[in-house]
């Protein structure tokens, strides 16, 4: 029950795009077509779901204060390496993405071609790093991190797919010249997060 409510909370209430405005660059840039958005959404689910648990392990077994106690060396046990969090997380994310790419290319070539450029692109997507940092800040346990990673990715996918469908619809609209393209998309993002505010405050 706890995990279900965490998942619902992450997808709708604390939606990583529409509540925290993370991952905006790819959210705005890759939402022109529904197919592209679906691909990117799937890639984000995949990568967030993998990197958050990996980073959890890195954080809890190497970097956290006292994390190295398992070595049995007292000098190491006192170390607090959490200042290395950021750089290690980025390294983990980048290498995970490379790994995922190779695995997909070898075993699921169809999925690999449909994700195309988005897989390497989301290495630098801030929602991925954001997911890992939230995991540290909220001190999630391992199963919680697993659920959190997948549902944060799902939240991103939901937001970007619905935005792309809306953008497909407004292709026929008479938008003022100055607002065409990104300007309108930003206004739409604002209106969408207003609609998502319906969930704000839900206490599960």
């Amino acid at each position: 029950m706890h995990y279900i409510s965490l998942a619902v909370e992450t997808i709708f209430i604390n939606n990583i795009v529409l509540a925290y405005f993370l991952g905006m660059c790819s959210f705005l840039a890759c939402s022109k077509k529904v197919e592209t958005a679906t691909g990117l959404g799937l890639a984000v689910i995949c990568v967030l779901g993998l990197t958050a648990p990996f980073n959890w392990a890195v954080h809890n077994f190497f970097l956290r204060e006292g994390a190295l106690a398992w070595t049995g060396v007292s000098a190491l046990a006192e170390l607090d390496l959490s200042f290395l969090n950021l750089i290690c997380f980025i390294a983990v994310i980048a290498s995970t993405v490379q790994l995922v790419e190779m695995i997909l290319d070898r075993f699921f070539p169809r999925l690999y071609t449909s994700l195309g450029i988005f897989l390497p692109l989301i290495t630098v997507n801030c929602s991925i790093l954001g997911g890992s940092l939230f995991m540290v800040e909220r001190t999630y346990t391992f199963p919680e991190t697993l659920v959190y990673g997948f549902s944060a990715g799902t939240g991103f996918a939901l937001a970007i797919i619905s935005l792309s469908a809306v953008r497909k619809k407004i292709r026929y609209s008479r938008i003022p010249a100055g607002l065409q393209g990104l300007g309108m998309t930003m206004i739409l993002t604002g209106l969408m997060s207003m609609a998502f505010m319906a969930f704000a405050g839900i206490d599960l």
Partner: protein
């Protein structure tokens, strides 16, 4: 009428391209198409020969709204007279009092919104659309009667500009402009939309002692563990029939399920309102509430145990699902999509009501959320349909090839 038409046509040259007042053409066009049928014909195929146009659809919605508005006048005045302890007020007094409270709100909405619409029509050279007649009426009566007039103006301006005009006017928008304005006001001035504000108190000294302002939904959400919600509601004066008839406080149009149903019947008979959306909404709410009823009573708040027939008449559900959710522009366009859209709204209403302590009446926000999701629903419904047809055609072709 002939005189009017002649008069219009005599001055038509002024507004046509090359005329002195050509920049005011949208104003001329609005008058002509409001009073008469515009003489324009289509230049090339397809030629749709149908008497139903945007004007007639929108006027039908306005007609369907008349029972609601008339009831709003009566009920708002009645609430005012009760709260301000005016004992010997007759039904007529209620009406006139309600008229004095509600009419300025509607007028401000029409005037401010209308001016903005005209301004955009002139600058961006599109026609003034009848759609605004509906937006300009739906928006003000979705507000509580104590709303300050400047907030009405602000909300309608936001709704018309950001919700509609920057997309190019009626038919091009994604979200329902009345809901955008309502949502904007709701999040900007939250205290205006909760608790006591639903009671029209102008003279604070005369309020009856202990007159509580809680709406049925706030009340139901705050019933302590182990007590019955229905009893608590009845004790506060909200029986099922009061809520159905709507003789109580609340946002102006939302209180009476009965008046909304009359309008709903008009919309359904004329085919203007999509019955699939309304049915989907009711089904969604029913399923969600019934499954909540099955939750163990002692580990969740008593609100989860409230039966469906109470949920249906509470809050603004009936009014919104009939008038707000069925907006043909912002709702789902495919037939199957309409079902999904309606059910999504119904389920969300139940969830927000029961699980969200921040705002108990989340119907309008659920519909706004539904608006955002509608294009996605349409997209996937179309995709599924295309795939089904492809499979069918392939199987047919292979059948022909064999025989």
């Amino acid at each position: 009428m002939k005189f009017l038409l002649n008069h219009l046509h005599k001055h038509k040259g002024l507004f046509m391209p090359g005329g002195k007042l050509a920049w005011l053409y949208p104003l001329y066009e609005a008058q002509e198409s409001f009073l008469f049928t515009p003489p324009d014909t289509t230049q090339s195929a397809p030629h749709v020969r149908d008497g139903v146009d945007l004007k007639r659809v929108m006027i039908t919605v306005i007609i369907a709204l008349i029972p609601v508005v008339l009831f709003t006048f009566y009920n708002t005045g009645r609430q005012f007279n009760i709260v301000n302890q005016i004992p010997d007020a007759t039904a007529l007094d209620h009406w006139t009092q309600g008229l004095a409270i509600v009419m300025p709100v509607i007028l401000v909405s029409y005037i401010v919104g209308g001016l903005i619409e005209v301004l955009f029509a002139i600058i961006r050279k599109h026609e003034i659309n009848e759609g605004f007649l509906v937006t300009g009426l739906l928006f003000p009566i979705s507000l509580p009667p104590t709303i300050p007039l400047w907030q009405v103006a602000l909300g309608v301006a936001f709704g018309v500009i950001i919700g509609k005009e920057i997309f190019g006017g009626t038919g091009f928008n994604v979200l329902n402009p009345a809901l955008v304005g309502r949502g904007f006001l709701f999040f900007s001035f939250p205290t205006r939309f909760s608790g006591d504000v639903y009671n029209v108190v102008l003279d604070i000294d005369n309020v009856i002692d202990g007159y509580t302002g809680a709406t049925p939904l706030t009340l139901a959400a705050s019933v302590p563990q182990g007590e019955s919600v229905i009893e608590a509601l009845t004790e506060a004066g909200f029986t099922w029939s009061t809520m159905f008839l709507g003789l109580m406080g609340g946002s102006m149009a939302e209180t009476s399920a009965l008046a909304s149903l009359v309008g709903g019947v008009i919309l359904l008979v004329t085919g203007v309102g999509a019955w699939r959306i309304m049915a989907g909404g009711v089904i969604g709410l029913t399923v969600a509430v019934t499954s909540m009823n099955l939750l163990p009573a002692d580990s969740f708040i008593p609100f989860t145990q409230l039966p469906i027939y109470y949920h249906l008449v509470m809050g603004t559900f009936v009014w919104s699902i009939i008038f707000m959710a069925t907006d043909p522009v912002s709702s789902a366009a495919t037939l199957r999509g309409k079902w999904i859209y309606g059910i999504l709204i119904g389920v969300m209403v139940a969830v927000i009501r029961v699980a969200n302590p921040a705002f108990t009446g989340g119907v309008l926000l659920s519909i706004l959320f539904g608006n955002v999701m509608a294009p996605m629903i349409d997209h996937f419904v179309l995709k599924a349909h295309i795939r089904k047809r492809q499979v069918y055609i392939q199987s047919r072709n292979s059948r022909y090839a064999k025989s």
